[in-house]
C-alpha cells in the first residue's frame, strides 16, 4: 500500500510538471512583451522616487521590508556575538 501511494503521488507530480512547463512555454509565445513588476520597477524609478541610483531606490523604497529584515539579521548577529563574547563586562 505504501508503494502504491508513492508511485501514485509521483505520477501526479510528473503530470502536473509537464502541464506547468507546457503552459509556461505557451504564455511567452502568446505575450512576447510580457511586463510584470520588474519592468515597472526599472522604468518608473525616476518618476516615482526621484532617486538617480535606481539600486538604492529599489532597496529602500520598493523592497523596504527586505532591508528591514537585513538590518534585523545584523542586529541578531551582534546580539548573538555579544552573548558569546561576554567577557568584556568583567574588565
Amino acid at each position: 500500500m505504501k508503494k502504491f501511494f508513492t508511485w501514485f503521488s509521483l505520477t501526479i507530480l510528473l503530470v502536473m510538471g509537464i502541464y506547468v512547463c507546457y503552459n509556461m512555454a505557451v504564455i511567452t509565445q502568446l505575450h512576447p512583451t510580457y511586463e510584470g513588476i520588474a519592468s515597472l520597477i526599472v522604468k518608473d524609478t525616476l518618476q516615482k522616487t526621484s532617486a538617480i541610483n535606481s539600486c538604492t531606490a529599489i532597496v529602500f523604497d520598493f523592497r523596504g521590508y527586505d532591508t528591514l529584515g537585513e538590518s534585523f539579521v545584523l542586529f541578531t548577529a551582534v546580539i548573538g556575538s555579544a552573548a558569546i563574547l561576554r567577557k568584556y563586562k568583567r574588565r
Partner: protein
C-alpha cells in the same frame, strides 16, 4: 600574544594618521550620497566602522577603550533601528502602506531629494556603523581579556 597586541611603530602610526580621516570622510560621503552614487548605508557604515580597526592597529587597545564608549555605541545601534522603523511607519500616518515614499520628493540629483529614501539610508548607515563598530570593539576587548588571563596564568605558574 602580548607581543602581537602592543604595536607602537612610528610608521604605522603616521600612516594611520593619514588614512583615518580619509576613511571617515569617504564613509560619510558614501552614506549621504547613497541615492546619487553607487553605495549605500551598509557599505558606508562598514567603511566608517573600519576606523576603529585602524585605531586599534596603530595605537593599541587602551586608546580604543579611551576613545569609544561601549554602552553608548550599543544604544546608538538601537536608535538607528528605531529610526528606520519610524521613517517607514510615516506611510501609515499619511494613510498609505508601510514603507511608502510620502515626503516631498524634490529635484532629482540634489542631495535632499528622493523623500524617505535619504532618511532610511541614513538610519541604516548609522545602525550598521554602530553594529559593526560594536563587534570590532568586542573582539578587541576579548583579545585583551585573553591576554590578561594568560599573563595571570604565567604568574601563578
Amino acid at each position: 600574544m602580548k607581543k602581537n597586541i602592543k604595536i607602537k611603530e612610528p610608521i604605522i602610526k603616521s600612516c594611520a594618521n593619514i588614512t583615518l580621516p580619509m576613511a571617515l570622510v569617504l564613509g560619510i560621503y558614501v552614506i549621504l550620497h547613497g541615492h546619487l552614487s553607487p553605495g549605500g548605508g551598509f557599505q558606508g557604515g562598514v567603511i566608517v566602522a573600519g576606523a576603529i580597526a585602524i585605531v586599534f592597529i596603530a595605537y593599541g587597545y587602551k586608546e580604543v577603550f579611551a576613545v569609544f564608549n561601549m554602552e553608548r555605541v550599543k544604544v546608538s545601534e538601537d536608535i538607528g533601528a528605531i529610526g528606520y522603523v519610524f521613517v517607514a511607519a510615516l506611510g501609515l500616518i499619511y494613510g498609505f502602506d508601510f514603507c511608502t515614499n510620502v515626503i516631498w520628493h524634490g529635484i532629482p540629483g540634489k542631495l535632499f531629494s528622493s523623500g524617505t529614501i535619504f532618511w532610511m539610508n541614513f538610519a541604516v548607515g548609522f545602525k550598521v556603523t554602530a553594529g559593526i563598530g560594536f563587534l570590532i570593539i568586542m573582539m578587541v576587548a576579548n583579545l585583551y581579556q585573553t591576554s590578561e588571563y594568560e599573563d595571570e596564568d604565567e604568574d601563578t605558574k
